[in-house]
Symmetry: C2
DNA sequence: GTCAGTCTGCCTACTAGAAGGTAGGTATGT
DNA sequence: ACATACCTACCTTCTAGTAGGCAGACTGAC
Protein backbone atom coordinates (compact mmCIF):
# COMPACT_ATOMS: atom_id res chain seq x y z
CA UNK A 1 0.00 0.00 0.00
CA UNK A 2 2.01 2.92 -1.23
CA UNK A 3 0.68 6.25 -0.07
CA UNK A 4 1.76 8.69 -2.75
CA UNK A 5 0.75 12.33 -2.73
CA UNK A 6 -2.95 12.66 -3.29
CA UNK A 7 -2.48 15.15 -6.13
CA UNK A 8 -2.81 12.52 -8.85
CA UNK A 9 -6.04 11.38 -7.24
CA UNK A 10 -7.29 14.94 -6.97
CA UNK A 11 -6.61 15.37 -10.67
CA UNK A 12 -8.49 12.15 -11.46
CA UNK A 13 -11.41 13.11 -9.22
CA UNK A 14 -11.65 16.48 -10.87
CA UNK A 15 -11.34 15.01 -14.37
CA UNK A 16 -14.11 12.57 -13.57
CA UNK A 17 -16.48 15.33 -12.52
CA UNK A 18 -15.65 17.35 -15.60
CA UNK A 19 -16.03 14.42 -18.00
CA UNK A 20 -19.31 13.32 -16.44
CA UNK A 21 -20.57 16.81 -17.05
CA UNK A 22 -19.24 17.49 -20.52
CA UNK A 23 -17.39 14.55 -22.03
CA UNK A 24 -13.84 14.01 -23.25
CA UNK A 25 -13.70 17.17 -25.32
CA UNK A 26 -15.63 19.19 -22.76
CA UNK A 27 -12.75 19.79 -20.40
CA UNK A 28 -9.13 20.89 -20.56
CA UNK A 29 -5.99 20.68 -18.47
CA UNK A 30 -6.54 24.35 -17.65
CA UNK A 31 -9.94 23.52 -16.14
CA UNK A 32 -8.40 20.89 -13.90
CA UNK A 33 -5.53 23.16 -12.93
CA UNK A 34 -7.95 25.84 -11.80
CA UNK A 35 -9.88 23.44 -9.56
CA UNK A 36 -7.00 21.42 -8.11
CA UNK A 37 -4.89 24.52 -7.49
CA UNK A 38 -1.91 23.40 -9.50
CA UNK A 39 -0.30 24.63 -12.71
CA UNK A 40 -1.33 23.23 -16.04
CA UNK A 41 2.17 21.89 -16.73
CA UNK A 42 2.20 20.01 -13.43
CA UNK A 43 -0.67 17.84 -14.60
CA UNK A 44 1.53 16.68 -17.45
CA UNK A 45 3.99 15.47 -14.79
CA UNK A 46 1.37 13.03 -13.53
CA UNK A 47 -0.33 12.29 -16.85
CA UNK A 48 1.84 13.12 -19.87
CA UNK A 49 -1.05 13.14 -22.33
CA UNK A 50 -4.77 13.66 -21.98
CA UNK A 51 -5.42 10.12 -23.15
CA UNK A 52 -3.17 8.83 -20.34
CA UNK A 53 -5.22 10.75 -17.83
CA UNK A 54 -8.55 9.48 -19.11
CA UNK A 55 -7.36 5.91 -19.60
CA UNK A 56 -6.07 5.85 -16.02
CA UNK A 57 -9.29 7.38 -14.82
CA UNK A 58 -11.46 4.77 -16.53
CA UNK A 59 -9.20 1.99 -15.24
CA UNK A 60 -9.60 3.30 -11.68
CA UNK A 61 -13.34 3.68 -12.23
CA UNK A 62 -13.54 0.08 -13.39
CA UNK A 63 -11.62 -1.10 -10.36
CA UNK A 64 -14.01 0.78 -8.07
CA UNK A 65 -16.96 -0.66 -9.94
CA UNK A 66 -15.53 -4.17 -9.62
CA UNK A 67 -15.10 -3.60 -5.90
CA UNK A 68 -18.70 -2.41 -5.71
CA UNK A 69 -19.91 -5.51 -7.51
CA UNK A 70 -17.84 -7.66 -5.15
CA UNK A 71 -19.33 -5.96 -2.11
CA UNK A 72 -22.86 -6.47 -3.39
CA UNK A 73 -22.14 -10.12 -4.19
CA UNK A 74 -20.84 -10.62 -0.65
CA UNK A 75 -23.36 -8.60 1.33
CA UNK A 76 -26.61 -8.91 -0.57
CA UNK A 77 -27.74 -12.52 -0.87
CA UNK A 78 -30.90 -12.05 -2.91
CA UNK A 79 -30.47 -11.48 -6.68
CA UNK A 80 -33.42 -9.09 -6.84
CA UNK A 81 -31.97 -7.05 -4.02
CA UNK A 82 -28.64 -7.03 -5.83
CA UNK A 83 -30.33 -5.37 -8.77
CA UNK A 84 -32.05 -2.98 -6.37
CA UNK A 85 -28.68 -2.14 -4.82
CA UNK A 86 -27.23 -1.37 -8.24
CA UNK A 87 -30.14 0.84 -9.26
CA UNK A 88 -30.32 2.40 -5.81
CA UNK A 89 -26.66 3.36 -5.99
CA UNK A 90 -27.25 5.38 -9.14
CA UNK A 91 -30.49 6.76 -7.85
CA UNK A 92 -28.61 8.26 -4.92
CA UNK A 93 -25.77 9.58 -7.09
CA UNK A 94 -28.21 11.27 -9.44
CA UNK A 95 -30.42 12.60 -6.66
CA UNK A 96 -27.58 14.36 -4.84
CA UNK A 97 -25.89 15.30 -8.15
CA UNK A 98 -22.58 13.92 -6.85
CA UNK A 99 -22.14 11.84 -10.02
CA UNK A 100 -25.19 12.31 -12.18
CA UNK A 101 -23.97 10.00 -14.94
CA UNK A 102 -21.96 6.85 -15.42
CA UNK A 103 -18.49 7.87 -16.59
CA UNK A 104 -18.26 5.02 -19.08
CA UNK A 105 -21.76 5.57 -20.43
CA UNK A 106 -20.90 9.16 -21.19
CA UNK A 107 -17.59 8.27 -22.78
CA UNK A 108 -19.30 5.56 -24.83
CA UNK A 109 -21.37 8.29 -26.49
CA UNK A 110 -18.18 9.76 -27.92
CA UNK A 111 -16.48 6.52 -28.90
CA UNK A 112 -15.92 7.50 -32.53
CA UNK A 113 -13.66 10.39 -31.48
CA UNK A 114 -11.99 8.77 -28.46
CA UNK A 115 -8.39 7.47 -28.29
CA UNK A 116 -8.33 3.74 -28.95
CA UNK A 117 -6.99 2.74 -25.52
CA UNK A 118 -9.78 4.66 -23.80
CA UNK A 119 -12.34 2.96 -26.02
CA UNK A 120 -11.00 -0.44 -24.98
CA UNK A 121 -11.44 0.40 -21.29
CA UNK A 122 -14.96 1.72 -21.84
CA UNK A 123 -15.94 -1.36 -23.81
CA UNK A 124 -14.54 -3.58 -21.06
CA UNK A 125 -16.71 -1.77 -18.52
CA UNK A 126 -19.84 -2.56 -20.53
CA UNK A 127 -18.82 -6.21 -20.76
CA UNK A 128 -18.12 -6.41 -17.05
CA UNK A 129 -21.55 -5.11 -16.13
CA UNK A 130 -23.56 -7.01 -18.70
CA UNK A 131 -21.68 -10.13 -17.56
CA UNK A 132 -22.46 -9.48 -13.92
CA UNK A 133 -26.11 -8.70 -14.64
CA UNK A 134 -26.39 -11.89 -16.71
CA UNK A 135 -25.09 -13.90 -13.75
CA UNK A 136 -27.41 -12.18 -11.28
CA UNK A 137 -30.45 -12.65 -13.51
CA UNK A 138 -29.66 -16.31 -14.19
CA UNK A 139 -29.25 -16.99 -10.49
CA UNK A 140 -32.50 -15.15 -9.76
CA UNK A 141 -34.30 -17.46 -12.14
CA UNK A 142 -32.60 -20.55 -10.73
CA UNK A 143 -33.63 -19.53 -7.21
CA UNK A 144 -37.19 -18.84 -8.32
CA UNK A 145 -37.00 -15.18 -7.39
CA UNK A 146 -36.99 -13.60 -10.85
CA UNK A 147 -39.08 -14.07 -13.95
CA UNK A 148 -37.48 -13.36 -17.32
CA UNK A 149 -39.12 -13.24 -20.72
CA UNK A 150 -35.87 -13.74 -22.66
CA UNK A 151 -32.44 -15.22 -22.08
CA UNK A 152 -30.45 -13.86 -19.13
CA UNK A 153 -27.95 -12.44 -21.63
CA UNK A 154 -30.56 -10.48 -23.58
CA UNK A 155 -32.35 -9.34 -20.42
CA UNK A 156 -29.05 -8.17 -18.95
CA UNK A 157 -28.27 -6.05 -22.00
CA UNK A 158 -31.78 -4.59 -21.93
CA UNK A 159 -31.47 -3.86 -18.21
CA UNK A 160 -28.15 -2.09 -18.66
CA UNK A 161 -29.44 -0.11 -21.63
CA UNK A 162 -32.54 1.00 -19.75
CA UNK A 163 -30.49 2.16 -16.77
CA UNK A 164 -28.25 4.19 -19.07
CA UNK A 165 -31.26 5.56 -20.93
CA UNK A 166 -32.81 6.51 -17.60
CA UNK A 167 -29.70 8.52 -16.71
CA UNK A 168 -29.99 10.27 -20.04
CA UNK A 169 -33.67 11.08 -19.60
CA UNK A 170 -33.07 12.41 -16.09
CA UNK A 171 -30.44 14.72 -17.54
CA UNK A 172 -32.54 15.68 -20.56
CA UNK A 173 -35.53 16.68 -18.44
CA UNK A 174 -33.36 18.14 -15.70
CA UNK A 175 -35.34 15.94 -13.33
CA UNK A 176 -33.46 13.41 -11.14
CA UNK A 177 -36.69 11.63 -10.21
CA UNK A 178 -37.07 10.53 -13.83
CA UNK A 179 -34.39 7.92 -13.16
CA UNK A 180 -36.56 6.18 -10.57
CA UNK A 181 -39.69 6.62 -12.69
CA UNK A 182 -38.03 4.49 -15.35
CA UNK A 183 -35.99 2.04 -13.31
CA UNK A 184 -38.46 1.05 -10.57
CA UNK A 185 -40.97 -0.51 -12.97
CA UNK A 186 -38.03 -2.17 -14.68
CA UNK A 187 -37.19 -3.90 -11.40
CA UNK A 188 -40.77 -4.73 -10.49
CA UNK A 189 -41.31 -6.39 -13.84
CA UNK A 190 -38.64 -8.93 -12.95
CA UNK A 191 -40.16 -9.91 -9.61
CA UNK A 192 -41.65 -13.37 -9.76
CA UNK A 193 -45.12 -13.35 -8.25
CA UNK A 194 -45.43 -15.92 -5.44
CA UNK B 1 -41.21 27.70 -51.56
CA UNK B 2 -37.99 29.63 -51.68
CA UNK B 3 -35.08 27.70 -53.12
CA UNK B 4 -32.00 29.21 -51.52
CA UNK B 5 -28.54 27.89 -52.15
CA UNK B 6 -28.10 24.49 -50.60
CA UNK B 7 -24.91 25.50 -48.84
CA UNK B 8 -26.61 26.17 -45.53
CA UNK B 9 -28.18 22.73 -45.72
CA UNK B 10 -24.86 21.14 -46.62
CA UNK B 11 -23.36 22.78 -43.55
CA UNK B 12 -26.20 21.49 -41.37
CA UNK B 13 -25.95 17.98 -42.82
CA UNK B 14 -22.24 17.92 -42.18
CA UNK B 15 -22.60 19.31 -38.66
CA UNK B 16 -25.18 16.66 -37.90
CA UNK B 17 -22.86 13.86 -38.93
CA UNK B 18 -20.01 15.35 -36.93
CA UNK B 19 -22.11 15.92 -33.80
CA UNK B 20 -23.63 12.45 -33.95
CA UNK B 21 -20.11 11.10 -34.01
CA UNK B 22 -18.42 13.29 -31.40
CA UNK B 23 -20.79 15.74 -29.76
CA UNK B 24 -20.93 19.52 -29.53
CA UNK B 25 -17.29 19.97 -28.58
CA UNK B 26 -16.11 17.23 -30.90
CA UNK B 27 -16.21 19.26 -34.11
CA UNK B 28 -15.13 22.68 -35.32
CA UNK B 29 -15.98 25.09 -38.11
CA UNK B 30 -12.72 24.00 -39.76
CA UNK B 31 -13.97 20.38 -39.89
CA UNK B 32 -17.16 21.48 -41.65
CA UNK B 33 -15.27 23.76 -44.03
CA UNK B 34 -13.05 20.89 -45.12
CA UNK B 35 -16.02 18.63 -45.92
CA UNK B 36 -18.38 21.16 -47.50
CA UNK B 37 -15.61 22.73 -49.57
CA UNK B 38 -16.04 26.23 -48.29
CA UNK B 39 -13.91 28.58 -46.18
CA UNK B 40 -14.26 28.65 -42.45
CA UNK B 41 -15.34 32.29 -42.46
CA UNK B 42 -18.13 31.56 -44.93
CA UNK B 43 -19.82 29.34 -42.39
CA UNK B 44 -20.09 32.32 -40.09
CA UNK B 45 -21.99 34.07 -42.88
CA UNK B 46 -24.72 31.43 -42.59
CA UNK B 47 -24.46 30.78 -38.86
CA UNK B 48 -22.77 33.63 -36.95
CA UNK B 49 -22.03 31.55 -33.87
CA UNK B 50 -21.65 27.85 -33.24
CA UNK B 51 -24.69 27.88 -30.99
CA UNK B 52 -26.74 29.35 -33.86
CA UNK B 53 -25.64 26.51 -36.09
CA UNK B 54 -26.49 23.81 -33.60
CA UNK B 55 -29.76 25.41 -32.49
CA UNK B 56 -30.87 25.64 -36.12
CA UNK B 57 -29.76 22.07 -36.70
CA UNK B 58 -31.75 20.72 -33.77
CA UNK B 59 -34.78 22.76 -34.83
CA UNK B 60 -34.59 21.25 -38.32
CA UNK B 61 -34.08 17.81 -36.82
CA UNK B 62 -37.18 18.25 -34.70
CA UNK B 63 -39.19 19.36 -37.70
CA UNK B 64 -38.10 16.25 -39.61
CA UNK B 65 -38.91 14.08 -36.62
CA UNK B 66 -42.36 15.68 -36.35
CA UNK B 67 -42.92 14.98 -40.03
CA UNK B 68 -41.84 11.39 -39.47
CA UNK B 69 -44.27 11.00 -36.59
CA UNK B 70 -47.00 12.50 -38.74
CA UNK B 71 -46.30 10.08 -41.56
CA UNK B 72 -46.41 7.12 -39.19
CA UNK B 73 -49.66 8.37 -37.64
CA UNK B 74 -51.18 8.65 -41.11
CA UNK B 75 -49.85 5.49 -42.75
CA UNK B 76 -49.58 2.97 -39.95
CA UNK B 77 -52.95 2.27 -38.34
CA UNK B 78 -51.91 -0.21 -35.67
CA UNK B 79 -50.24 1.22 -32.52
CA UNK B 80 -47.92 -1.76 -32.17
CA UNK B 81 -46.82 -1.35 -35.77
CA UNK B 82 -46.25 2.34 -35.11
CA UNK B 83 -43.79 1.40 -32.39
CA UNK B 84 -42.23 -1.13 -34.74
CA UNK B 85 -41.86 1.57 -37.39
CA UNK B 86 -40.12 3.86 -34.91
CA UNK B 87 -37.72 1.17 -33.74
CA UNK B 88 -37.24 -0.10 -37.28
CA UNK B 89 -36.25 3.34 -38.48
CA UNK B 90 -33.41 3.50 -35.99
CA UNK B 91 -32.47 -0.09 -36.60
CA UNK B 92 -31.90 0.75 -40.27
CA UNK B 93 -30.00 3.95 -39.50
CA UNK B 94 -27.70 2.13 -37.11
CA UNK B 95 -27.24 -0.87 -39.37
CA UNK B 96 -26.11 1.17 -42.38
CA UNK B 97 -24.23 3.62 -40.13
CA UNK B 98 -25.92 6.54 -41.89
CA UNK B 99 -26.95 8.05 -38.56
CA UNK B 100 -25.87 5.70 -35.82
CA UNK B 101 -27.24 7.84 -32.99
CA UNK B 102 -30.11 10.19 -32.27
CA UNK B 103 -28.78 13.75 -32.50
CA UNK B 104 -30.77 14.91 -29.50
CA UNK B 105 -29.85 11.91 -27.38
CA UNK B 106 -26.19 12.63 -27.97
CA UNK B 107 -26.56 16.32 -27.24
CA UNK B 108 -28.55 15.49 -24.10
CA UNK B 109 -25.45 13.74 -22.74
CA UNK B 110 -23.62 17.05 -22.80
CA UNK B 111 -26.44 19.24 -21.51
CA UNK B 112 -24.41 20.72 -18.62
CA UNK B 113 -21.96 22.32 -21.07
CA UNK B 114 -24.40 23.22 -23.86
CA UNK B 115 -25.69 26.71 -24.71
CA UNK B 116 -29.06 27.32 -23.06
CA UNK B 117 -31.02 27.71 -26.30
CA UNK B 118 -29.70 24.40 -27.59
CA UNK B 119 -30.67 22.71 -24.33
CA UNK B 120 -34.22 24.02 -24.71
CA UNK B 121 -34.51 22.47 -28.18
CA UNK B 122 -33.10 19.15 -27.02
CA UNK B 123 -35.48 19.05 -24.09
CA UNK B 124 -38.39 19.80 -26.37
CA UNK B 125 -37.42 16.85 -28.55
CA UNK B 126 -37.59 14.50 -25.56
CA UNK B 127 -41.02 15.86 -24.62
CA UNK B 128 -42.30 15.50 -28.17
CA UNK B 129 -41.34 11.85 -28.35
CA UNK B 130 -42.38 10.82 -24.88
CA UNK B 131 -45.69 12.58 -25.59
CA UNK B 132 -46.17 10.75 -28.86
CA UNK B 133 -45.22 7.39 -27.34
CA UNK B 134 -47.64 8.00 -24.47
CA UNK B 135 -50.44 8.59 -26.98
CA UNK B 136 -49.54 5.52 -29.03
CA UNK B 137 -49.33 3.27 -25.96
CA UNK B 138 -52.61 4.56 -24.54
CA UNK B 139 -54.36 3.96 -27.83
CA UNK B 140 -52.81 0.50 -28.07
CA UNK B 141 -54.34 -0.36 -24.70
CA UNK B 142 -57.71 1.13 -25.61
CA UNK B 143 -57.78 -0.94 -28.79
CA UNK B 144 -56.79 -4.07 -26.95
CA UNK B 145 -53.56 -4.47 -28.88
CA UNK B 146 -51.04 -3.64 -26.18
CA UNK B 147 -50.56 -4.71 -22.61
CA UNK B 148 -48.89 -2.29 -20.20
CA UNK B 149 -47.78 -2.91 -16.64
CA UNK B 150 -47.67 0.78 -15.69
CA UNK B 151 -49.24 4.03 -16.84
CA UNK B 152 -48.82 4.98 -20.51
CA UNK B 153 -46.70 7.95 -19.37
CA UNK B 154 -44.27 5.82 -17.38
CA UNK B 155 -44.12 3.12 -20.05
CA UNK B 156 -43.44 5.75 -22.70
CA UNK B 157 -40.50 7.16 -20.74
CA UNK B 158 -39.13 3.66 -20.18
CA UNK B 159 -39.54 2.85 -23.86
CA UNK B 160 -37.71 5.99 -24.94
CA UNK B 161 -34.95 5.41 -22.40
CA UNK B 162 -34.44 1.83 -23.52
CA UNK B 163 -34.22 2.83 -27.17
CA UNK B 164 -31.59 5.44 -26.30
CA UNK B 165 -29.73 2.98 -24.12
CA UNK B 166 -29.81 0.46 -26.97
CA UNK B 167 -28.14 3.00 -29.27
CA UNK B 168 -25.50 3.52 -26.63
CA UNK B 169 -24.86 -0.20 -26.18
CA UNK B 170 -24.62 -0.73 -29.93
CA UNK B 171 -22.00 1.99 -30.03
CA UNK B 172 -20.19 0.75 -26.94
CA UNK B 173 -19.87 -2.79 -28.26
CA UNK B 174 -19.28 -1.62 -31.82
CA UNK B 175 -22.09 -3.99 -32.77
CA UNK B 176 -25.14 -2.59 -34.61
CA UNK B 177 -27.13 -5.78 -34.00
CA UNK B 178 -27.10 -5.03 -30.27
CA UNK B 179 -29.80 -2.42 -30.94
CA UNK B 180 -32.23 -5.07 -32.17
CA UNK B 181 -31.19 -7.49 -29.42
CA UNK B 182 -32.42 -4.96 -26.89
CA UNK B 183 -35.37 -3.37 -28.66
CA UNK B 184 -37.13 -6.41 -30.16
CA UNK B 185 -37.90 -8.01 -26.78
CA UNK B 186 -38.98 -4.55 -25.62
CA UNK B 187 -41.60 -4.53 -28.37
CA UNK B 188 -42.67 -8.14 -27.89
CA UNK B 189 -43.28 -7.56 -24.22
CA UNK B 190 -45.97 -5.03 -25.09
CA UNK B 191 -47.89 -7.35 -27.41
CA UNK B 192 -51.14 -8.43 -25.85
CA UNK B 193 -51.60 -12.17 -26.23
CA UNK B 194 -54.86 -13.01 -27.98
C1' DG C 1 -32.91 48.94 -71.81
C1' DT C 2 -29.69 50.47 -68.51
C1' DC C 3 -27.65 52.09 -64.69
C1' DA C 4 -27.14 52.87 -59.75
C1' DG C 5 -27.98 50.66 -55.43
C1' DT C 6 -28.24 46.76 -52.73
C1' DC C 7 -28.26 42.12 -51.20
C1' DT C 8 -26.10 37.51 -51.14
C1' DG C 9 -22.48 34.31 -50.95
C1' DC C 10 -18.08 33.68 -50.59
C1' DC C 11 -13.35 35.06 -50.21
C1' DT C 12 -8.50 36.53 -47.90
C1' DA C 13 -6.49 38.06 -43.92
C1' DC C 14 -6.64 38.67 -39.37
C1' DT C 15 -7.46 38.54 -34.09
C1' DA C 16 -7.37 36.93 -29.24
C1' DG C 17 -7.52 33.28 -26.65
C1' DA C 18 -7.44 28.43 -25.54
C1' DA C 19 -5.83 23.88 -26.65
C1' DG C 20 -2.28 20.12 -25.58
C1' DG C 21 2.35 19.75 -24.78
C1' DT C 22 7.65 20.78 -23.89
C1' DA C 23 12.02 22.66 -21.79
C1' DG C 24 14.31 23.61 -18.10
C1' DG C 25 14.51 25.18 -13.52
C1' DT C 26 13.89 24.82 -8.13
C1' DA C 27 12.64 23.11 -3.64
C1' DT C 28 12.16 19.06 -0.84
C1' DG C 29 12.72 14.60 0.88
C1' DT C 30 15.39 9.93 0.90
C1' DA D 1 23.03 11.69 -5.60
C1' DC D 2 18.72 11.00 -6.97
C1' DA D 3 13.83 11.18 -7.58
C1' DT D 4 9.52 13.52 -6.84
C1' DA D 5 6.56 17.29 -7.31
C1' DC D 6 5.92 21.39 -8.71
C1' DC D 7 7.07 25.81 -10.98
C1' DT D 8 7.76 29.65 -14.95
C1' DA D 9 8.06 30.34 -19.56
C1' DC D 10 7.38 28.97 -23.86
C1' DC D 11 5.78 26.50 -28.29
C1' DT D 12 2.58 25.12 -31.97
C1' DT D 13 -1.75 24.37 -33.41
C1' DC D 14 -6.42 25.03 -33.22
C1' DT D 15 -10.53 27.63 -31.66
C1' DA D 16 -14.52 30.71 -32.59
C1' DG D 17 -15.14 34.90 -34.42
C1' DT D 18 -14.25 39.67 -37.10
C1' DA D 19 -13.13 43.05 -40.85
C1' DG D 20 -13.36 44.18 -45.18
C1' DG D 21 -13.38 43.22 -50.08
C1' DC D 22 -15.27 41.36 -54.44
C1' DA D 23 -18.19 39.23 -57.96
C1' DG D 24 -22.70 38.23 -59.40
C1' DA D 25 -27.72 38.49 -59.09
C1' DC D 26 -31.91 41.23 -58.12
C1' DT D 27 -34.08 45.69 -57.57
C1' DG D 28 -36.30 49.91 -58.87
C1' DA D 29 -35.87 54.62 -61.34
C1' DC D 30 -35.17 56.83 -65.30
Amino acid sequence: MTRPSTTADDILDCARTLIVSGGYNGFSYADIAAVVGIRKASIHHHFPAKSDLVRTLVARYRAEAAAGIGAVDRNVPDPLNQLRAYVGYWEACIADASAPFCLCALLACEIPVLPADVVAEVRAHFRTFSGWLTKVLARGVAEGRLRLTGTPEAEAEAFLATVHGAMLSARAYGDPSMFATITHPLLERLVRPH
